[in-house]
Amino acid sequence: MAAFLKLKEISKNYTIGSKQIWALRDLSFEVTSGELICIIGKSGCGKTTLLRIIAGLEKQTSGEIILNGQALKDTGRERGMVFQEPRLFPWLTLEANIAFGIRGRMSRELEYKTVADLMEMVGLKGFAKAWPSQLSGGMAQRAAIARALAVDPAILLLDEPFSALDALTRTKLQTDFLHLWQRTQKTCIHVTHDVDEALTLGQKIMIMHSNPSRVGDIISLPFPYPRSLEDPELRAIKQRVLSLFIADSAD
C-alpha cells in the first residue's frame, strides 16, 4: 500500500543554555493507511518531540512531513493527539469535553449522537454529566481518546497514553483500544516505552535509538489479535527488542 504519512529527514534541535542538542536527527519513516504502529524507545530519545512535530505543536528544524500527498505545517484537525496526561477541560462536563472539537461544526442532534456513540465505544456510558475531577485516571484517558476521535481525524497520535495507569487498568485499556482501532480502522502512531504494550498492539514496532535520535529497526508483527505474550514467536521478538534496547542504553 502507498505511504500515507511520510517523514523525510526530520531534525529538531533545542538550545539548552549555550548547548545545542539534537532531539531528532534525520529521522525518516513511512506509515501506511489504517496501520497501527508502535514506537518504542528509552526515555529522552525524542518520542514526544516526534509526535509533537507531526501534530504541528512543534516546528521541525529541518525536514518535511507529508500526509496524503500534502506537506504539513501547523496543527490540523486531520491529526488527532492523545497526550500522556488526559488534559481534559476542567470546566466542561465529560460529554462537553468529548464534543470540544466538533462543537459548532455540526447540528446539535448529530453532535449529540456522535458523542453518545463515542462514550459507548470507550466505555463511559452513563458518565455524560460527570466533571473531569470526578473521574479516575483510566476514565479520563478514555475520555481523551474519545475527544480526539470525535473530529474523525485521519491519523491518531498517542503519546504513552496508558503509562500513568496501574497494570490492570492499562491491560484493560489496551484491549479496549485494540477493539476501537479494529472498529474505526484509523491510522495510529502509538508511542510507548513498554515493550509488552508494543507487542500486544503494534502491527509494526519501530525502535527509536538515542544519541543521536534516529530510527533503528522496524519489526513487523504479522500476528492476529488478540495476542498472547506467551506465544513463542512473540517471546523471541521480545528478546530481540530488549537486546536492541540494551544495546542502545550501552552507548
Binding site: 491529526r79 488534559r87 477541560f89 470546566w91 462536563t93 466533571w131 473530529v151
Partner: protein, 264 residues
C-alpha cells in the same frame, strides 16, 4: 440540607455566645453603658432607625455608591486585565508600578480626590472605584496569563483559531480567578465606602457613624458598624452563591488560595 443547617448553627454559635455574655455583663452593670452600650440598646437603635426609614435611606445611599464604584471598577479592570493577561511578559513592566500603588491606601488619596473632583458624589465614587479596581484587575490578569498551556495545545490540535481559543479556553479558565477578584473587589469597595463617607457626606452608613460621634451616641455608631458588617457579609454571600451557580465545576474541586490585596 441538614449540612447547611448544621453549618449555619456552627457559624452563628460564636456571635451568639459573645452577644449573650456582653448583654449579661451589661445587665449586671459590669460594663460602662456609655462606652459599650448593650446589644439590646443597639438593637433598639437599629429598630428605631429601620422604623422611621432613615436606615433604608442611608443604606441605599451607600449601596448606590458602592454599586456605581464597583461597576465602574469592574468595567475598567476586566478588559484591561484581560488584554494585559494575554500579552506575555507585560507583568514584568507592570508589577513594580502596581506594587508601588499597592502601598498607598485608598484613604491617603481622599484629600487629593476631593481636590481634583470636588466634595460631592464623584470623589466618593472614585475612591470606591480605586479600591475595587486592583483586585479585579490583578486577578483577571493572573487568571488569563496562568491559563494552562497544555489546554491551549489541546485546543490548537483541534484547529481552533486564536480568537476561538480565547473564548473557549482562556475565558473559562480565568473565570474562577475573575470571580475571586470580583469578590475581593466588592469587599474592598464596601470597606472603603465608610472612609469616603466620613468626609462630607449628608447620608450613607459612614455618615450615620459620623453623626453618632457628633451626637455622642455610641449605640448609633455601633449600629452603623454592625450594618456595615452585616451588609458586607450579605454581599459576599450573594457572590459566593453566584459563583456556585455559574461555575458548577468548581464545587467538585478544592479551592486554591488567592493573592490578597489589602487597601487599608
Amino acid at each position: 440540607m441538614t449540612n447547611v443547617f448544621k453549618k449555619t448553627i456552627m457559624a452563628l454559635l460564636l456571635p451568639f455566645v459573645l452577644v449573650l455574655v456582653w448583654e449579661l455583663f451589661s445587665q449586671m452593670g459590669w460594663l460602662n453603658n456609655y462606652l459599650l452600650p448593650p446589644p439590646s440598646g443597639i438593637m433598639d437603635q437599629l429598630f428605631a432607625l429601620a422604623h422611621n426609614g432613615t436606615l433604608l435611606n442611608h443604606l441605599s445611599a451607600s449601596l448606590y455608591r458602592v454599586g456605581c464604584g464597583f461597576g465602574l471598577a469592574f468595567c475598567l479592570a476586566l478588559p484591561l486585565g484581560f488584554l494585559l493577561g494575554l500579552v506575555p511578559r507585560v507583568q514584568d513592566y507592570l508589577s513594580p508600578f502596581l506594587n508601588f500603588l499597592q502601598q498607598i491606601p485608598a484613604i491617603a488619596w481622599i484629600p487629593m480626590f476631593i481636590l481634583w473632583l470636588g466634595i460631592d458624589e464623584t470623589s466618593k465614587i472614585s475612591i470606591i472605584t480605586y479600591s475595587g479596581f486592583f483586585p479585579i484587575f490583578l486577578n483577571t490578569m493572573h487568571g488569563i496569563s496562568n491559563t494552562d498551556s497544555k489546554l491551549k495545545e489541546v485546543a490548537s490540535t483541534f484547529g481552533l483559531s486564536p480568537w476561538q481559543i480565547i473564548v473557549r479556553v482562556y475565558l473559562p479558565s480565568a473565570a474562577p480567578s475573575v470571580f475571586v477578584g470580583m469578590r475581593l473587589g466588592l469587599s474592598f469597595c464596601w470597606r472603603s465606602l465608610v472612609a469616603a463617607e466620613l468626609l462630607g457626606a449628608s447620608k450613607g452608613i459612614g455618615y450615620l457613624i459620623q453623626e453618632g460621634r457628633e451626637l455622642a451616641q455610641p449605640d448609633l455608631m455601633l449600629a452603623g458598624v454592625l450594618m456595615i458588617g452585616i451588609t458586607g457579609l450579605f454581599l459576599d454571600f450573594v457572590f459566593l452563591r453566584l459563583e456556585k451557580t455559574l461555575l458548577p465545576w468548581r464545587n467538585t474541586q478544592e479551592r486554591r488560595e488567592v493573592p490578597k490585596w489589602q487597601p487599608f
